[in-house]
Symmetry: C2
């Protein structure tokens, strides 16, 4: 394996780890971790499932605070995680399999849901930061490439 291939392998691993940390921050209701993961930039972009885009870290972080405050329990099982690198930009797609509960859910039950996410990270001072998060509901299991 060449040095370059090593570097790529390391980058892919680093991006996948930051992607996991993003979901862990939501699970733990850790707004400080969430803030550290997002790129602090007016071009940052977030689309929650079924909603219109939010731009800029202040609006985006407010939305996460609200989501965290409203979820009494949330757990993500990520599947189909695929990472692609293009220089200092990386795209991740994954299926967010979500178990959640809120104030309206009985103590012993959960709500299950599934979304498709595109997460785009940019390298900044050797750290990968989340620039774009676009999540959308899955309405069909059909793979269009089939």
């Amino acid at each position: 394996m060449t040095g370059r291939a090593h570097r790529t392998e390391d980058d892919l691993t680093a991006v996948e780890q930051v992607n996991s940390s993003f979901y862990a921050a939501f699970e733990h209701g850790d707004i400080d971790a969430m803030t550290a993961i997002w790129l602090d930039d007016p071009t940052a972009l977030c689309v929650h499932p079924g909603t219109t885009p939010l731009r800029g870290s202040p609006a985006i972080l407010r939305s996460w605070s609200l989501l965290m405050a409203n979820a009494t329990y949330i757990q993500f099982f990520l599947t189909d995680v695929e990472v692609s690198l293009r220089g200092d930009v990386a795209s991740v797609t994954c299926t967010e399999n979500v178990l959640t509960a809120d104030a309206t859910t009985a103590d012993t039950s959960f709500i299950g849901a599934r979304a498709i996410a595109t997460n785009v990270f940019v390298r900044e001072a050797d750290t990968w930061r989340l620039w774009i998060h676009h999540a959308s509901p899955v309405l069909s299991d059909e793979h269009h490439e089939d």
Copy 2:
């Protein structure tokens, strides 16, 4: 206005034009134009509304051929178009207001639909090419920042 500001203004205009060409290619069923707009790369990524991700230009272009073949009429009215630049990468968000007809639609009627799209373009040899297209249905008019 400085030279740098001019440059940025030109880039924003160029990205918005390519973004419009992307929808025009779909409207005209022009797979050659669509092919030219997409980055020819295995990391290219496309999520059609409500579906799972397609990766790589061959799978992506096949899906557009299929969508074009099935739409007897389609017209896009783009609203809320916002372009952000970050070096050689640009993100565009827009609301896709769609008027469409297919084989099942009566001659005088249309189907109306609305989706939110994130389009990420990368600069390649002074041309902006589509790297990521993620479109999702709008289920709520709520702006989470409100």
